[in-house]
């Protein structure tokens, strides 16, 4: 079974991770732009970050047979930094036009401030202008309220709900999302967010429609193999393969294919590994 991890920050991961992910069946990854653990202080660092998500990282992934796409945005946390927010918003149109960009994201709420309201709305408009889906992060703190507010922002903007993926759901927020037309992402984490048995239980209760799973792995305690591990957990729980494949492959591909830029075929990857002398392989 081919798998997709539709939310993973590969820039923070090693080539050993890529090897293990490919061996576990992960064929496609989507890397949302987010923050880097400490605040950035210059707009120019976003240019280099976006450039890396569109160049170096897809190349690195291709060396292991993995297709890499990205989503770009000013993330909710840094939306609060008025020294950079305007500058990053001004950069985005040039980058959102690019071939490997399959959504605007992560946008949404962190502390649920007025600045976050403004940047969330502005970036939904960018998604509309560039005909891209939107990937919406939900906050760690005050999550249920943050999810309700996010759904309200989408509704008030008149943004098509089937083009919105609300991420990092739990037992409390999933029913709220499924009551709309938005898709529901779940980040399977070692200690926080969602875990494998709970995810299997949610699937048993709610089925597979508009349900997506990801590892959200980054530079923190996280696990890039959480998608295949959740597949195993769902099998153990007696969930049928069609349902599992819908959640771990068909749904994320269908959601991001709405960008018109998720080009998948059986052709070899764009820059497939061709020789052992390559710098990523060589180390």
């Amino acid at each position: 079974m081919k798998l997709c991890d539709p939310h993973i920050h590969m820039s923070s991961r090693t080539t050993a991770d890529y090897e293990a992910m490919a061996a576990a069946g992960i064929a496609v990854v989507i890397e949302p732009a987010f923050w880097l653990g400490q605040p950035r202080t210059h707009v120019g660092t976003f240019e280099d970050y976006f450039g890396s998500l569109l160049g170096w990282e897809p190349y690195r992934a291709s060396q292991f047979g993995v297709r890499h796409f990205c989503t770009l945005a000013l993330n909710p946390k840094e939306a609060n930094d008025e020294r950079i927010a305007d500058g990053v918003l001004a950069l985005l149109p040039r980058y959102l036009a690019k071939d490997g960009v399959v959504a605007v994201g992560e946008i949404g709420y962190d502390e649920q401030t007025p600045a976050e309201d403004r940047r969330f709305a502005e970036q939904l408009e960018l998604a509309r202008r560039f005909e891209l889906p939107a990937l919406v992060h939900t906050p760690h703190r005050d999550k249920k309220r943050g999810t309700e507010r996010s759904l309200a922002v989408v509704r008030e903007a008149g943004f098509p709900e089937e083009r919105v993926l609300i991420d990092h759901n739990n037992e409390e927020t999933l029913p709220l999302v499924l009551a709309t037309g938005c898709w529901a992402g779940h980040s399977i984490y070692p200690n926080s967010k969602m875990d494998e048995p709970r995810m299997a239980a949610l699937v048993q209760r709610y089925g597979s429609e508009r349900i997506i799973i990801n590892s959200a792995a980054d530079w923190g305690i996280s696990d890039p193999l959480k998608v295949p591990k959740t597949v195993t957990a769902m099998r153990t729980a007696g969930i049928d393969d069609t349902t599992i494949e819908t959640i771990a492959w068909r749904n994320p591909i269908a959601f991001f294919a709405q960008s018109g830029r998720l080009t998948l075929d059986d052709a070899p990857t764009e820059h497939a590994a061709s020789f052992e002398g390559n710098s990523v392989r060589r180390g």
Binding site: E47, L54, G55, Y59, K98, G260, E270, N278, V280
Partner: protein, 217 residues
């Protein structure tokens, strides 16, 4: 260069005129940088990335030809856009404009730009961008400037050309793909190649067969 545009038009067929109009690089339209950037960025999904194949080659204004059959259709489209657009940009801005397109470019925008460099007016002005590309670890970017491209032999200083050749060896690129290698060979490059061969032998590793193109006879 007009020959290059003709060849590109031939490859792109009816898409060429549409690209030119949409990107505002045709003479009939006032040039709009934002529209150019949009079309340049989206050329991959518009044209696809299939290599053009055949034995297609291109000729510059000095009458030299080199093969471009490994270029993707998107790269042909982007090279076409760059060669056409630079005529719409004031000369004094050319270097900054090209470097800006490179820096803001996704992987295949960068490879297309590097492949188009020898077709731009006074290409020696873009040396900084070309040298930067040689430092990339993104192998397709390095190969776009180093392989099947006359630019380095035409414009690189000796030390940079030697670094390019040694990086090709180091990353497994066949030296035959570097245009003008013989004309730019230096004793210093031979010494580097000799040392590299010795280092490989000392480590019990094989020495690339084509390294003899560089080593001291």
């Amino acid at each position: 260069v007009s020959d290059a545009l003709t060849i590109f038009r031939g490859i792109l067929g009816s898409e060429a005129a549409a690209l030119a109009t949409d990107s505002t690089v045709d003479a009939a339209t006032p040039y709009d940088a934002a529209r150019f950037e949009m079309v340049f960025a989206s050329a991959g999904r518009r044209l696809g990335i299939t290599p053009i194949g055949g034995h297609t080659s291109i000729t510059d204004e000095r009458g030299r030809s080199w093969r471009i059959d490994a270029w993707g259709r998107d790269e042909v489209g982007r090279a076409f856009l760059l060669v056409a657009a630079i005529a719409r940009v004031p000369s004094v801005d050319h270097v900054a404009w090209i470097d800006g397109c490179y820096r803001a470019g996704a992987l295949r925008e960068r490879t297309a730009l590097l492949r188009a460099l020898p077709l731009l007016p006074e290409p020696g002005r873009f040396l900084g961008t070309a040298l930067d590309a040689c430092r990339a670890s993104t192998q397709p970017v390095f190969e776009a400037i180093a392989c099947e491209n006359p630019y380095p032999a035409d414009h690189f200083p000796d030390a940079s050309f030697a670094q390019l050749a040694m990086k090709a060896v180091f990353t497994g690129v066949a030296l035959a793909r570097i245009l003008g290698l013989v004309s730019r060979h230096t004793p210093e490059l031979a010494r580097m190649a000799d040392d590299y061969a010795a280092e490989r032998r000392a480590a019990g590793r094989d020495v690339p067969a084509d390294l003899t193109l560089l080593t001291t006879p």
